[in-house]
Amino acid sequence: MTNAVEQENIKVIVFQLADKEYAIPVSHVQGIEKLMHITRVPKTEKYVKGVINLRGVVTPIIDLRERFELPISDHEETTRIIIISLEDMEVGFVVDSANDVLDIPASSIEPQPEVVGSLEEEFISGVAKIDKRLLILLHLEKVLNPLK
């Protein structure tokens, strides 16, 4: 790499969902929690699992598998809730497991491949190839909005 000096890195949290790895910038992550009791909130979208008591703050929980219309699986020992904060919202994402914290070079991020036709593509802001791993970067605004 010739221009290594100007290389910018983005620190991301990597998590697993179905058979893919996703990434969220660490600046938006408030914490990673183990699964806890979720209180169902009636008359909300199916992917809104309900709310939890996050140290005194009532926090809504979104099941990312359901949000992306992936096949639903039972919650395992590895299931985690990643607490995201975006603008003035705090929301928890249920994911299969939270794996890693990585520095990815900004230059390795490419726009999403256009061939992908699944619903999740609209939530993707780009993909990054690190060694043999393919990380899907989430577009948080789109994951959270619109709530329809």
């Binding site: 009791h37 209180t39 169902r40 909130v41 009636p42 008359k43 909300t44 809104v48 309900g50 709310v51 939890i52 008591n53 140290r55 005194g56 703050v57 009532v58 926090t59 809504p60 603008e87 003035d88 919202m89 705090e90 929301v91 959270l144 709530l147």
Partner: protein, 689 residues
């Protein structure tokens, strides 16, 4: 200097000082001769100027400085208070407020104030100065002195006798510079000089208080000496940090006269020698000043005991404290259940004691969030003044119960609705003086702003003795706007018609005025108040006046609820909407056009099955013979909420669902239960149509 750290404090304090300025200005308008008030305003302005200069808000400091100059001129009686001058000063305060608001909103506090500054300068340069002040030229010996100090008969005798022995009796007022650091030391130096040349008979405040620095900037001394007034003055001005020294002869005749005058309090007099520190070089050309004996009032005021010591706390910190406390409450719940299981004597006792302490702690944390409504009310006198000028109406504002306390969160929200309602009262309610005279009312209309506690609620009322609501006009307007139909209107009560003005898209003014015609109707007020869990009602009699009454919950953070269970899910129903609970038989349920109803004390009450509304997943169908029903109300209307079972009554801490989940049907919020789980709060208002 790390500015951001202090910015919040600066903004808060600036607001306070500006508020103080406004209040005192209004007072000054009523008593234009009371220079003590000018002093108060000057002090606030001076502090504000210093603060803004330190924080680097030059524009703010600059305008304050100009305003201060005018105040200083008034204080030194170079110019007279007039409505015109007050208008400009009010205008400056308005500008300053805007600037502070701008800074609070992240701006730089810059603002075009050139016209105001020009006017301030014009006033300061004396164009408005009343000529008679300049005209009075004093000659030393003929001076009569209004006595600042009160002398008892013993002191009077001492003064009279020393005069017979050729001593001069002087009353000396010494003003220290505002930035004087060691006031007690300066006092000591002043007294040292005095005692070399004569005897101090009396001082106000007392010597003890002076030594303790319990005085503002000024103190008074009665003094007998053989020296002349000018010499004493020059000597005293040598003491550093002394700003001003006035020496006045105490006239013995005055004692007898004074007694005569005391009843009417009209002791007219003039000071002999007023020399400002900056002009010490020419002490003989003493400047005359009409002393209207307001100084003692000032001295008295400044010695009023300082109120309770307080500390400013960021509301966020209180919220954090509250959250931590709730965590503790949850752990207490767990401890309690453990201790019942273990059944260990000492453990039980400890848990018991802990619960009691936590109860007290909870009360304290909650009361910490309580703020007197005064913080909202105090902006209204100025607003009324401005409104009455804009509209050419005469309005007197009475404020009652400003000390009533409300939760901070409610206080923050209630300001705007009140502004709206008061504007409405002044604009549409109070008639102009001619119309009032024609109706046989006093020309001056009255708006009463009242706050009081009642039960678990705080009531805020805005009452005016104006025109009242014109029923026919309101009705025809509502019908023309399609808010109600003609048929509906026939069945409406007076109050219902009054409340039509709160409907959206409604304005009773024939002409849209600058005051209330800002494109927002009173419906906004209603929405805001209802979102706070409050209620607004209107009483009005035509040509007599109207009362807008707002009912608000004491606090938004803690409410009493009834916890109920529906298939393992726990919901909380606010006690304020519950009338009672009852158990009904299946056979008592009747069908009335597809709606299940029950007969509740002779009233037909519709049933709402919460498990249907909330789509509670059921493992197996239940077919109980008995149903648990919570009878709730919204206004006059009742409904029965059917649940599986009652858990009991509890005080809960209200939590919002956050910004992601907004407008969930029939859910007004959430709370955290003793077991750490979240329970949702049922919004009964949404369930009753």
């Amino acid at each position: 200097m790390e500015v951001n750290q202090y910015l919040e404090m600066f903004i808060e304090e600036s607001k306070e000082h500006l508020q103080a300025c406004s209040e005192h200005l209004l007072e000054l308008e009523k008593n234009p001769d009371d220079l003590a008030i000018v002093g108060e305003i000057f002090r606030s302005a001076h502090t504000l100027k210093g603060m803004s200069a330190t924080m680097g808000f030059e524009d703010l400091a600059d305008l304050t400085h100009k305003m201060e100059n005018v105040l200083d001129a008034i204080r030194n009686e170079k110019i007279h208070v007039s409505p015109e001058i007050l208008d400009i000063v009010f205008e400056s305060v308005d500008h300053l407020e805007e600037m502070v608001m701008d800074i609070a909103n992240g701006g730089d506090g810059k603002r075009d104030v050139s016209s105001t500054v020009a006017q301030l300068k014009r006033i300061e340069s004396g164009e408005e100065a009343a000529p008679e002040v300049v005209a009075t030229v004093a000659t030393e010996d003929k001076q009569q002195v209004s006595s600042v100090l009160e002398y008892d008969s013993f002191e009077q005798t001492v003064i009279t006798q020393s005069a017979e022995q050729g001593f001069n009796a002087f009353e000396i007022s010494v003003s220290l510079r505002e930035d004087c650091l060691l006031k007690a030391a300066r006092v000591f130096m002043v007294f040292e000089i005095l005692e070399k040349d004569g005897d101090v008979i009396k001082s106000t405040p007392s010597v003890e208080k002076l030594e303790d620095e319990q005085f503002d900037q000024q103190f008074y001394v009665a003094f007998v000496t053989k020296e002349s007034a000018e010499d004493m003055q020059k000597k005293l001005l040598k003491v550093s940090e002394v700003e001003e020294v006035n020496v006045a002869t105490i006239n013995q005749i005055q004692f007898s006269e004074k007694q005569q005058y005391e009843a009417s309090q009209e002791a007219a007099a003039t000071a002999i020698a007023t020399v400002e520190a900056v002009e010490t070089t020419d002490a003989t050309t003493a400047k005359p000043a009409s002393a209207k004996s307001t100084a003692p009032a000032k001295a008295d005021k400044s010695h009023a005991p300082v109120g309770n010591k307080t500390i400013r706390v960021n509301i966020e910190r209180l919220d954090i404290l509250m959250n931590l406390f709730e965590e503790l409450v949850i752990d207490r719940g767990r401890l309690q259940s453990i201790s019942t299981e273990v059944n260990h004597g000492e453990l039980n006792e400890t848990v018991e004691r802990m619960s009691r302490v936590m109860g007290d702690l909870q009360t304290i944390i909650l009361t910490m969030r309580m703020v007197p409504v005064e913080t909202v009310f105090n902006r209204f006198p100025k607003m009324i003044r401005q409104l009455s000028r804009d509209l050419n109406k005469k309005i007197n504002l009475e404020i009652i119960g400003a000390e009533t306390e409300l939760d901070r969160t409610v206080i923050d929200e209630i300001g705007d609705p009140l502004v709206h309602l008061i504007r409405n009262s002044v604009d549409h309610g109070i008639e102009n003086p001619t119309a009032r005279r024609a109706k046989g009312k006093p020309e001056e209309g009255t708006v009463v702003l009242r706050a009081y506690h009642s039960g678990n609620y705080v009531f805020i009322e805005i009452e005016d003795d104006g025109a009242g609501i014109n029923r026919d006009k309101v009705l025809s307007k509502a019908i023309s706007k399609g808010i109600v139909t003609h048929e509906q209107s026939l069945a409406m009560t007076d109050n219902q018609i009054n409340e039509l003005i709160l409907a959206s898209g409604f304005s009773t003014a024939d002409v849209i005025s600058d005051v209330s015609g800002r494109g927002v109707g009173l419906d906004v007020v209603k929405t805001t108040i209802e979102s706070l869990g409050g209620n607004i009602s209107i009483e009005s009699t035509q040509d007599v006046g109207s009362i807008f009454s707002i009912q608000l919950p004491l606090t938004l953070s803690i409410i009493s609820v009834m916890l109920v269970e529906i298939e393992k899910e726990i919901y909380a129903i606010p006690l304020s909407s519950i009338i009672e609970t009852s158990i009904i038989r299946s056979s008592d349920i009747m069908n009335a056009h597809n709606q299940k109803v029950i007969d509740f004390r002779g009233k037909v009450v519709p049933l709402v099955f919460l498990e249907e509304i909330f789509e509670v997943p059921r493992k197996e169908l239940q077919d109980d013979e008995f149903h648990s029903v919570v009878i709730v109300r919204k206004g006059e209307k009742l409904a029965g909420l059917v649940v599986d079972s009652f858990i009991g009554q509890q005080e809960i801490v209200l939590k919002s669902l956050g910004n992601y989940l907004t407008n969930i049907f029939a859910i007004s919020g959430a709370t955290i239960l003793g077991n750490g789980k979240v329970a949702l709060i049922v919004d009964c208002n949404a369930l009753i149509k």
